[in-house]
Amino acid sequence: MSLDPAGDPLDVDALLDDPKTRIVVCCGSGGVGKTTTAAALGLRAAERGRTVVVLTIDPARRLAQSMGIDSLDNVPRRVKDVQGAGELHAMMLDMKRTFDEIVEAHADADRARAILSNPFYQSLSAGFAGTQEYMAMEKLGQLRSRDEWDLIVVDTPPSRSALDFLDAPKRLGSFLDGKLIRLLMAPAKVGGRAGMKFLNVGMSMMTGALGKLLGGQLLRDVQTFVAAMDTMFGGFRKRADATYRLLQAPGTAFLVVASPERDALREAAYFVERLAADDMPLAGLVLNRVHGSGAAELSAERALAAAEGLEEEVAESRGAKAAAGSGADAGGAVEENLGAGGIVDQEGGNVGLRNSSESEAPNSPEAIGTSPSTKDDDSGASVEQLTAGLLRLHAERMRLLARERHTRDRFTALHPEVAVAEVAALPGDVHDLDGLRAIGERLAAATGDHA
């Protein structure tokens, strides 16, 4: 009923039902419904009998509420009112908490205390962007190793560098193998190593430069931090490497999420290429908020022409009844408006727009060609006006459809190998499990059987 499916449809249910599928990772640019998709997939899988945990990164409060959980935290909470045999658990990544847990689990009590109270650590773990990616990776590894769930659905951080989590182990590795860390550790290790002597001349010069740059106290904080973390870094890196390999394993499926808009699909293409470059198993593309029409046989052009015809009739009949020509003017305004794509000449609309802080809808009377009061005393014309309005609405929908199709086709031409699941747009937002369930149904309905 919506766009003609291009390329292979993505069979969401087959993916969720397959017991070999253990991890589903949703990635994509911000604002495409990634977190909602992850939650809807989790619910659908649970209601089809699986034991699922959904790891969200930064869910909108409303989404947490839609799962009946007021505030998600770092511990998986069971979602109530899931139908069927399965279970759904949901959690939100708390990066500081996750980082603290790693420290507590891998350092002895004294060292852990030293790290946790280090000011540099406190900033790194709580404040700095990018830590999220490492911690998401770490949390995924933890959930997987607990083996309490047979399916983990992961949402990814909303940054542009959403694939930063793929790079996390590599970056960490090059950092740990690099000279910088030895440089930072140098003052702590200087004493007594003859072999280091030559290096140390350069290093003390460098620490001098760093000290000048950072201020001596910050450099000391960084150095104590690095020294304290030294023993843990290796373990951290090992686990990050393991998680990276886990992501490449056959039990993992990546879903790239997008909406049928140019920017979102450009990002999607970037994700597809990046995943291929890293040998990550891509299951397909979820295309959210695709519009359809039950009256697709009526083109935008015919609908507009018919609407204009009806409006002319209204204007004529009104002109015959009343001497005033205001109706005809209004009709003319409509034509101008839509002739320019409904954007430019919105004089009436603009007045509304400027005053919109008064919270009244910016509703230009010209867009309809009449005002409600004329309808009351002229009910014959109002059906025509209403029908004309319906036709204009349809014309707008058909244009949107054409634009969405065009954007999607550009993507599929570039990546014909990617299976696509198109999710029909909901007019409103998701508020509860029923809403998530509806999205899950739409996700699964993308599998070919719509004509």
């Binding site: 404040g127 909303p158 950092f175 919109s356 309808k375 319906l390 707008e396």
Partner: protein, 324 residues
Amino acid sequence: MSRLQVVSGKGGTGKTTVAAALALALATEGKRTLLVEVEGRQGIAQLFETEALPYEERKIAVAPGGGEVYALAIDPELALLDYLQMFYKLGSAGRALKKLGAVDFATTIAPGLRDVLLTGKACEAVRRKDKRGRYAYDCVIMDAPPTGRITRFLNVNDEVAGLAKIGPIHNQAQAVMRVLKSPETDVHLVTLLEEMPVQETVDGIAELRAAGLPVGRVIVNMVRPALLDEADLELGLERTPRTAIAKTLAAAGLGGARGAAGRLVDPLLAQAAEYAERYALEGAQRAVLGEHGLPLHELPLLADGLDLGGLYELATELRQQGVS
């Protein structure tokens, strides 16, 4: 007019587009404007249909009013070397730091430092003066990170100033915060009339205000034209018999009332019902946005998608609404 205008918004709301339109609108007033990109996305180059921007200030548009738009895509790594050179005269030491992996460390392992560099570079452009003591740019527009990250991003220098309690980094961080918290700065939030972006905007306003950062305007993007009003919706959905609509469609030449035209009635009414739901939702979200005492502006959805022409249209719209 603020000299630094930071444009943030939830992902997908079109903040890059709004930032670019704002820069064009200001240039049309004759202002020399710098449009700054911080997320390495090359969105500005795509909007202006030019090749990828290098790390240098490059003229990308001349506005009708004679003003110019320059653009800069800040590369954190180059910005760091720049920064070392400019503030600490560490030219060769900077290169040595790079060899050691310190630059990698600063720009990737400790990405907070990346934010320091990005905000630092933007503030440097705001404060820069030419030989005659005039500001190099009348106005700097920043296409900033999304609303969920914006407060932390802008406030990163506060944190740095707390970490490095003395020394040049401390002084630099404080200088940046002075610009960001001054009346010279405005943080605008771009949103759509949907619940999640509006909620994020409301949260963003509260966070920015709590951090002492100046919130400017709320710009609602991609507003759809109003095609049916409330009276129509009520009339169409509740009171008008379907047969009357079918007859009218037939009279308009769309087939027989019992045939092709008749079959259109249900889907057309279904679309109207969806429209009505959306319309009501948009009205409610507009009311929520109106509660914060901020100037509220709306930009139309461009029916044919966004191209360079559309960008100029949005710039004109912003000027007419008195934003520039």
